[in-house]
Symmetry: C2
Subunit: 376 residues, 2 copies
């Protein structure tokens, strides 16, 4: 929580649940990443938080944009982004969305299947395309499963096919998984990608770009490597595997740019015991898994939660949301402790919730409205 | 899918994703339950689907309402429901929500802890309260975990305490879990509840009401017991355990009333292979876990999915949502087969999605708007 957020909460006491996000921190995170990897082009992952205040500021700072949908593309354009700075990064797109993006001047599209490539060739003729390969997600707290990416062998064939379809076979992408805490994951993925570049060069096809995706972690409850550690690992791997042919680099950070810039303020609705045999109290907040904290599924992302109780003893708790749904429990297995003095009506802050919260809130689960948003 | 929905889809070809729900089926389900259990008062669980068209029609049919939040209470009142027909059934409520409900004339509140009871006594003095006990959820596809309910012993103490606080110790409730396919679950819960009634009567406290919750199942891909089977089991258990002192019965059906009245129409965005070793195709729809199909988490609720391909061979598939999120996969382990001819642009219908879909949709996950809704 930044000093600016502390002041804002004290001065305004906004109704809960709400997100309060410090735009200065967003700018600082962007600058830090640019300094760490000056040769990379940063495409902010809009899905992390598409607030117009964030998109507008990042556009002014020279960021580009990675969009998951035509709706996100329109949000970027509305904030002044030029079409040439937007990548349509979802490898699964409706034909109508591709056509609409093309009509807006978007000229770079991701794919990872022959079927998607055919759609792009039909509806965005002559555009740049890059192929996503599947890479290891070990070390990521929010992995990407088998849903995306193709094999190295298939990527080669598909990029040649892209060229044959009149598209610009522009490059390759991978994603090591979100909240990735292992710098070696990027190095292994770069090595794998480099093989495709080399193979295709021998076949006369010169790829220009490597998209390293996002995944850079934010500090929640545990320390994570610094962004400079990732930058160093990436730079040395790029040099080692590409030598004199280092391609243009694209990054797609989302969580890293906005995650630690925001906090959620929430009211405690109830504190009570459930099982007489269990010393743990149940703490029910006015935000839950369906109110925006979707990444607590499986207790994958473990947010730091703070209270105003500065002294006095603490004890173990289970932390749940306000709805009638039994699945709406955030932390039952992860060890969480909260002050014994905690009671209904208290405000808690859930730290580093600037990413993947606002748009993920259900529109009216159990009748509850989505959290309000304050960009300061 | 009802004939009325088939006609509506053919005539209007609504943009996808969308819910189309046949109100006649809602009325028929309500009538069927009332016939099966004529002595029970039906409180529709608003959270299942709070569309004004549904609330208004059910109010006209004589339904009462189980509300999870002050927002749901206001929705019921807006459709003409009298305050006396609304139960505030969430055992976890903000003090401000209790006060607001009391100001609207709501006079029945659920609780399951001393802390909640104190809030109700302060903000809704003199009202009727009922205590929720925890019961077994075995047999439920969407169980309620340890989040709600207290022990039988504690319920006795709390109801006596309620009386001491000037509240009307009105009754007891339980919930056997949602999509409960085992009729015996209700019988075991009734037996447990009856002990509390008997014990309290010996202490001079006469409870008037037993709330049996909801949980009645809908047919998805597998047959489930008929509602008449549940009715028979409940009636015999009530007579066996309460004898000449059968209390007023309340039911809180949600899924049973609206579940099979609606379908979701969705467009296929992409069909492709992922792993070359895996014969399964990946089918990406324009609705996913975050677009309303929240109950596919853990593949708990397995919807029947239909296509317009009437003949030709089928093959195994994985079914995923349209977002860039790796977790947005509906069915990867449950065996699903779809026509080999299925392709991007085809429309599929996801059957029996009238409950727990619309309000559960994220407001803008990956930029995607919530599904549209058609009540016919």
């Amino acid at each position: 929580m930044t000093p600016k957020i502390v002041r804002y909460l004290a001065d305004h006491q906004p109704a809960t649940p709400c997100l309060v996000l410090d735009l200065d921190r967003v700018a600082a995170n962007f600058a830090r990443l640019r300094t760490a990897l000056p040769d990379a082009q940063i495409y902010y992952a809009v899905k992390a938080n598409p607030a117009p205040q964030i998109l507008g500021m990042l556009n002014d700072l020279g960021s580009r944009f990675d969009a998951a949908s035509i709706e996100e593309i329109m949000m970027c354009l509305a904030q002044g982004a030029r079409p040439g700075t937007i990548s349509f990064g979802n490898t699964v797109k409706k034909a109508s969305a591709i056509a609409a993006a093309f009509a807006q001047g978007i000229d770079m599209f991701a794919f990872d299947s022959a079927e998607e490539l055919a759609k792009i060739a039909s509806h965005a003729p002559g555009c740049k395309v890059y192929c996503r390969i599947a890479v290891g997600n070990d070390g990521a707290d929010w992995p990407l499963s088998r849903k995306f990416g193709t094999t190295v062998a298939r990527a080669r064939d598909l990029l040649i096919e892209a060229h044959g379809l009149g598209l610009i076979a522009y490059g390759l992408s991978f994603h090591v998984g979100s909240q990735q805490t292992n710098v070696a994951a990027y190095q292994a993925a770069i090595a794998r990608a480099a093989m495709v570049f080399t193979d295709l060069r021998t076949q006369g096809l010169d790829l220009k770009m490597l998209n390293l995706g996002g995944g850079f972690p934010v500090r929640y409850r545990d320390d994570v490597p610094e962004i400079e550690d990732f930058a160093e690992a990436i730079t040395s791997a790029m040099n080692a595997h590409f030598g004199n042919h280092v391609p243009d680099m694209i990054l797609e950070p989302g969580r890293f740019i906005v995650g630690d810039a925001g906090i959620v303020a929430s009211e405690v609705v109830l504190v009570c015991h459930r099982d007489p045999e269990d010393e743990r109290r149940w703490v029910y907040l006015d935000i839950g898994r369906y109110g925006g904290l979707a990444e607590t599924e499986g207790e994958a992302i473990r947010y730091d939660i703070r209270t105003a109780h500065r002294s006095g003893p603490s004890g173990p708790v289970v932390i749940a949301g306000p709805s009638c749904d039994g699945v709406d429990v955030m932390y039952e297995h992860a060890p969480y402790a909260m002050p014994m003095a905690l009671k209904a009506g208290d405000i808690v802050t859930i730290e580093a919730t600037g990413a993947y919260v606002t748009t993920y809130a259900s529109q009216a689960f159990n009748g509850f409205a989505p959290l309000s948003e304050h960009y300061i």
